[in-house]
Each structure stands twice: as C-alpha cells, then as structure tokens.
C-alpha cells in the first residue's frame, strides 16, 4: 500500500535508543528522524508511535505543529528565507525570487526532481547581518546576488552542505557597546563558589536585594519566581533557560550563547542552587541549532570541571545537570507554558494558568523558566552582590539591558546600556538618521514615533525584551505593521478562537488594504478585531498580535488612509482576482481580461 520507501528501521531504532525511548523526547526524536530523509513519511510516524507506545494520532499531531517538521516530501535542499521586516528592507524578496528563477521552482513548492524546496520563514535572528536564510537548518547571513548565484550552483551540483564555503556559515556577534555584563571576564565557577559560600538562603537574599527582573519580556521579579519554586512541593525541581528567542528583531540571546555560554549555564546552576533544583533544560530555538555542538562542548567541560553533575564544587547534596532541547520553528514555544509542553514532547500549546509553572511545570513539577539574559545577569549578582547590582539602572529597572539593534542605522548589532537610556541616545550611538519610527520589543512591542524619542528604556517607561528595529523616512509603516500581522497569523498556535481566526482575519484586512481595496468600514472592523484579540486571547501571542496595527493606526494613520478607496464599503471578495486562473489558462493579461472593481484615480 505504501508508496514511499520505508525509512530504515535500524536508523530509527538508533535514534529511539539514543533518547531512551522516552515519550517526552518525541520532538527531539522527530527532529533527528527527519534528518534521515529530509521529511517524515507516514510509515516513519507509525513506526515511532509504536516504538514509543504513543497513539499515532498524537505523533502526527506533534509533527504537524512545528514549521521545521515536514509530513510531506521536502527537498533534499530545504531553503528557508528569513522574512522579518528587516530582511525585507534588505531585499530578501528579490533574492528569493532570483534563486527560484535560477532553480526553476515556485516558492512553497518542491522541485519535480525532489532536489530543492524554497520558502519563507519567520525571523531567524540574524537581523544585524541579513538578509538571511536557513539551508537544511543551517543559518547563512549577508545574502546578496553573488552569494545567491553561488548557492544556486552548489544546489544544482548537489554539493553536500559540509562542502559549502565555510564563510557562508560564519555568524558575527557585532557587539558595539559593552557594559557590566559584556565586560565581565569571569573564571567559570567563580560566581557559583561565591553563591555556595553564602548558602542557599543567603544567595536568595542577595538575589532579592538585586531587584533583578526578567529580561524575557514580562519583567517578573526573578527572586520572587525562584523562591516560589523553592517553596512549592514536588521533586525534582526544574530550571529552564528560555533560548527560544523568536521575537522578530531579537538576537541578543544568540550572542550570549555564542560567546558567553559559561555565564548562561552558570546562571542556570545558580538558580538551581537557590531553588534546590536538580534538572535543567536549555530550550534552544531550531534556528540556532548551529550553536548546538559548541554548547554541548561547554556543558561537557563544565561537567569535567565539577560545575555540573553530582556534588557540584564538592557541595554535598548539590546535584544538577543540563540537557539541551531543540525547538523546531514555533514562536509560541517561547511562551513559558507552551515551552514546557514542547519540552514534554507535545504540541506547543499554552496551558491554562493558574497553576503557574513555578508550582506545576515540567511533568507537573515546580519549574523556573528564565530568559538567557536574566540567567547570565545572576553571575554579576553572585560576584558583586545584590546591592551593587540594584544601584545601577533606574528605580524600577536595576542593571543593564542588551538591545538587538537592526534596520536603518550605520552600525547594527548588540548594545548594552544601563536601564534608563533614551531612545534618542541609542539612535545617535548606532548612527541612525532621518528616523521615522522605532519598533521596540519586537513585533509584540511598541512602535515609537519621533515625538517619543525622549522616552527611556525601562520597565516603567518603554519595556523591551531587547529588539530595537529602526525605520527611516523612506519606510512605509503600514507595510511594517502588515509584515508583523503576517508573522502572528503564521505563528498562532491555533488553540483559542480569537487568535486562531482573528489573526487570519486581520491578515486578510491588511492584505485587502495593501491591494488597494480597503474602505473606511475595514478600518472599523480592524479596530474591533484588535480589541477582541487583546481582550479574549488565551496567551500573550494573541493579545500582542494587534499591537503593531494599533500603534501605527494611531501614529501613522495617513499610511493607512491613502490606501483606502473613496467608498465606505468594498467587498472582501475580489472578482478580478477570481479570474486569475482563467487568465492563466487562456494566456491573457490584457486590459480586457480584467474587471475594474472600483474607480481608479479618484481623489
């Protein structure tokens, strides 16, 4: 019955064995299994389900959730163009088009010989060195026409990725401004030794004094989170480092993991010491899988140095180790409860809260989820004390913040500032001129117009997880918002009605406007959808999805209004577009083959 050749079972057995046949490793197993043939044929899913004693439908459910898993044939070369607005501003559409033409294929389709498929993907976190792409999961930045020509040739020659020029895969840190964290030169284990000397309670007290707040977006007090997990019943407790970094325009966690991995892992171990946790996970977004070998090497070294494993630094009863779990293309998995579901090998659907992860997280155990930067910062606190840390920054925002700067400026990259720095100062430092707007905090953040550039980066003013995208006077803020709406529609997990349908509807309205078919009535509907998304969504993805539209509608309304037809109402059904197939079949595209659905050129 099967038309596909079955995947060699011995290879699948090896993968299952490596993951101890644990159903919690299902996502990891699927990621590895896909490497065998570039996709996951139906018999492979059946085989894995049987081996793991899981219902097949559940395995299919998981495989269908993640963008980087394919349940239909994909090319031996799978090319995904990063499609953040910053990639678009650097001309990714033209490059994608060029590659498609050279390889004779259409975006989103597989070439007839099964050699290559080309598609777009959400922001890959290379905004400071874009346009970027992933080829079979490997990141390549700084694309230009020359590079695209070479890549087309390499694919045509079917040259394995390992033989591609190594400079393609070189990724820069682009650190432009250092402060406390990026200047820290710590001997691995020094922060831990200091925290152990203070005792668990003493170390937690130091954390309390530091006023450190989470750098992942919500700004929750880290010490409060840690002590809740410490006091919650249930063992063994779990520390998770959230390295999903899916917010468009954010890439500071990539740099920390590339060059400061010891600080991140030491921070996780410091959290384990405070909480009494013994199990740790780094949840690494699939886009950063190129970091995996070097991160595993750091973990191995830290184990050898007695900084992980049993009796850390000879402390009786301090046992903690870290495993790395890969994501597979799902922004929602950055939301902490969806992340935990994903860690358990499930679809990344956000849970009902309460209960919160600190009492009922991974496998029902108390679980701390912290951002990469938050954890790295705890090293500073262990070394210099909580009070010293609290003395920097602003009243409600202690310490420094890493900003990922991209878009229209001379020097994109990573900038570390004490909290309280003004937007204007940042713009000056990175060499931005004629700035029209700045999107702070990524697609779900806030769009600031010129009159707001004296505002400050701080939880009490402009909070941010770190993204800082700059748009100069030549940019169209409607198109910026539209690209973010597409992002949210693509990334909605689909669990709740308002976000699943609302983001798709919003995308439809924005596209209708972009096509020149928008009317006043559409702006009212957009308004109404914005409010429903904000109010009724199950998680932060849905409630943030309308932010770019709300902000730009308020601050850059002419960008919308000049797209409207003069009518109050224009139907969503586009008669002319419906004739496209007929035109293609008859090879006609003359004016007579088009319907005029509204009067053009009316003032």
């Amino acid at each position: 019955m099967h038309t596909q050749p079955p995947t060699p079972c011995s290879a699948l057995d090896g993968i299952l064995q490596h993951h101890g046949h644990r159903p919690t490793e299902l996502l990891q197993i699927l990621i590895n299994a896909q490497q065998l043939e570039g996709w996951l044929p139906a018999p492979t899913l059946t085989y894995l389900a049987q081996a793991l004693r899981l219902p097949r439908a559940r395995v299919e459910g998981v495989a269908g959730f993640y963008s980087f898993l394919y349940t239909r044939p994909a090319g031996r070369f799978r090319v995904l163009f990063s499609d953040n607005i910053t990639d678009r501003m650097l001309g990714n559409a033209e490059l994608m088009d060029a590659l498609c033409r050279k390889l004779w294929i259409e975006p989103g389709k597989l070439s007839e010989d099964g050699l290559v498929s080309i598609d777009a993907t959400s922001c890959t976190g290379l905004c400071d060195q874009g346009p970027a792409m992933l080829v079979n999961g490997r990141a390549i930045g700084q694309l230009n026409h020359r590079r695209i020509n070479e890549i087309a040739e390499l694919i045509r020659q079917q040259r394995p990725l390992a033989q591609w020029p190594s400079e393609y895969f070189h990724i820069d840190d682009n650190i432009r401004r250092r402060d406390a964290l990026l200047n820290l030169d710590m001997k691995p284990g020094a922060a831990l030794a200091s925290a152990i000397a203070r005792g668990r309670a003493g170390w937690l007290a130091e954390m309390q004094a530091s006023n450190l707040r989470g750098r992942g977006g919500a700004g929750f007090a880290t010490a409060v989170k840690w002590s809740s997990a410490r006091n919650a019943p249930g063992e063994p407790k779990v520390i998770v480092c959230n390295a999903d970094e899916g917010e468009p325009g954010t890439f500071k966690d990539r740099v920390l993991l590339n060059t400061y991995a010891d600080l991140v892992f030491e921070g996780m171990t410091l959290a384990a010491w405070a909480v009494g946790a013994s199990e740790g996970f780094l949840y690494l977004r699939g886009e950063y899988s190129h970091l995996l070998p070097q991160l595993e090497a750091v973990l191995a070294r830290r184990r050898a140095e007695g900084l992980l494993g049993m009796r850390i630094l000879h402390e009786q009863g301090f046992d903690f180790d870290i495993r790395i779990h890969l994501g597979a293309g799902a922004y929602v998995c950055g939301e902490e409860s969806a992340l935990i579901e994903s860690l358990e090998g499930k679809r990344g659907t956000p849970r009902i809260r309460p209960p919160f992860p600190v009492t009922c997280g991974y496998l029902g155990r108390p679980t701390v989820v912290n951002n990469v930067e938050t954890l790295a910062k705890t090293c500073l606190i262990a070394l210099q004390g909580g009070e010293a840390f609290a003395a920097t920054g602003t009243a409600q925002s202690a310490g420094t913040k890493l900003l990922s700067i991209s878009g229209d400026c001379a020097a994109p990259g990573i900038y570390e500032y004490p909290f309280g720095v003004s937007i204007a100062r940042v713009l000056e430092d990175c060499g931005a001129s004629d700035t029209q707007a700045v999107q702070v905090g990524g697609a779900s953040g806030i769009c600031l117009a010129g009159y707001e550039f004296q505002r400050r980066i701080a939880y009490e003013d402009v909070p941010t997880a770190g993204a800082f995208m700059i748009f100069d006077g030549t940019r169209d803020l409607f198109e910026v918002a539209r690209s973010f709406v597409h992002f949210f529609a693509h990334e909605s997990c689909g669990f709740c009605t308002p976000c699943r349908v609302g983001t798709a509807l919003l995308k439809g309205f924005m596209d209708k406007l972009a096509d020149g078919h928008g009317a006043q009535a559409d702006l009212a509907d957009i308004d109404w959808l914005d409010r429903l998304l904000k109010n009724a969504s199950h998680c932060g993805l849905g409630s943030a999805a309308p932010n770019p539209v709300i902000d730009t509608l308020q601050k850059f309304r002419p960008a919308y209004e000049r797209r409207l037809v003069s009518l109050d109402f224009e139907p969503a059904f586009d008669l002319d577009a419906a004739l496209a197939e007929a035109r293609q079949l008859t090879a006609r595209d003359d004016p007579g083959a088009h319907l005029q659905t509204h009067e053009e050129g009316t003032p």
Partner: protein, 235 residues
C-alpha cells in the same frame, strides 16, 4: 458562611476551587460555553465563556471564583464579543445549517440564535476539509469542527483509545484520526464510544436514518440553549 462573588450585580455562592462558570450555573445563572463539559477539566479554547472579572477579561470556565469579585457577563459588551467569536467560528468552517443533520441539536447554531448573530460579518474561509465516510456506523464531516477537543478528550480519557488528535497549527489546525491511512474505519473507534456522542456540533454523525426527529422539534428548536443548559444543571 460560604464565599460569594457578584455576577452582574447578583450574589453567587461558591466553594474553593470552583470556576466562575460552574458556580454561576449551579446558582441558576447562564454563562455560555462550547468547549466546557461538566465531566472534564476545563479546556479554555472557545472563549465563549469570556467574562470581565475585577475589570479583566478571563475565561469563566477556567478561572477559579474569588471572594468579592465583581463579574460582568450578561452585558452588551461581553455579549458583543461572544457574537464576534461565534461569527469567527462560523466563517472559519463550512456551516450550511439547513443541510446539517445536527441542525436544532447543534450548540454552535443555538448560540448563534441566543446571541442574535444575524450575519457572518467576516469573509468566509471556505476551507477544504474532505468528509470521512469510511466507517460503517459513523460519518465525520470535518467542515464543522470547532476544535473543542471534546472527542479528543473523551476518546483518550474515557474510552481509552485516543482515536482523535489535532494536528497543524493556527488557522490550518485540523482533526486527524489514529490511523496511518487517515481513515476512521482503520481505527478501533466504535459507535458506542463516549467520543461518538460528545461533539457539540455536526462533525461526528451517526449513519442510518437521518432527520428522525424533524427540524423544528429538536432540542434547541423548542427551547433556548440558555434554558436547556440551566435545566440540565438542575437534573
């Protein structure tokens, strides 16, 4: 003395751990629901039960009641949002109620009437969702699925079979059955499973004589979903 909160100004008693929705229904006040079922833990996906508690929007089915809370539910604002959510569910699938065997017994349709949904308001998605008629006793018409996962939960947690699961993401999310062929006939599903009787809309339909009870005389034809649900609560 038991604890209480105010629902649209009226006191509602509750026990610790009880959700706003459960407490309200027990006290004879209707808050609508689609994905909630008294025999299962809250799911929280449809959002029909949305209320404003202490000024914040929450799902009544998934939010434990709190002493002294002021909860708004039967207000023009909340009912308007519910109407919008219903419109979303209607345009997302293919719902041709007049030709649907579930018409009159369908909770989605009944809620459409209850919340005075007169138009579908938004553009229709017209998704392509082929029907599965492979099983001898039961037909699956995926066109009407609202993703409440009641069949998923009933089959997994009560029938012990896991016949159903969701796959895909976002607007492309869809229901699949537990077989490599994708056909219900190739699963161990039976018409006597709880999952065969739990769908609130017209997806999981029993074959055999159709329209045995004429349209016009069905559950929600004779009385509103509001009064039916409150009556269920009493019995």
């Amino acid at each position: 003395m038991s604890k209480q909160f105010l629902l649209d100004g009226q006191p509602v008693p509750f026990e610790d751990g009880q959700s706003i929705l459960e407490a309200a229904r027990k006290a004879g006040h209707y808050i609508p629901s689609l994905c909630w079922h008294k025999d299962f833990p809250a799911h929280g996906s449809c959002k029909l039960c949305i209320v404003k508690a202490a000024g914040r929007h929450v799902s009544a089915c998934a939010t434990p009641a709190k002493e002294g809370w002021e909860v708004e539910s039967n207000t023009p604002e909340m009912n308007g949002e519910r109407r919008g959510l219903l419109q979303m569910l209607f345009v997302e699938g293919n719902h041709f109620c007049p030709s649907c065997e579930k018409s009159g017994n369908c909770e989605l349709q009944a809620l459409g009437y209850e919340y005075e949904m007169l138009t579908s308001r938004f553009r229709h998605f017209y998704p392509d969702r082929p029907v599965d008629a492979s099983h001898p006793d039961v037909l699956l018409d995926f066109n009407r699925c609202i993703f409440c996962e009641l069949c998923v939960r009933a089959s997994r947690d009560v029938d012990g079979k896991s016949v159903f699961a969701l796959t895909g993401r976002g607007i492309n999310k869809h229901l699949v059955v537990n077989a490599e062929s994708g056909r219900l006939a190739d699963t161990d599903f039976s018409k006597d499973d709880l999952a065969a009787h739990i769908c609130p809309v017209g997806v999981i339909l029993h074959k055999g004589p159709g329209f045995a009870v004429p349209i016009g005389e069905r559950t929600y034809d004779t009385a509103s979903i509001r009064s039916q649900k409150l009556k269920e609560e009493e019995s």
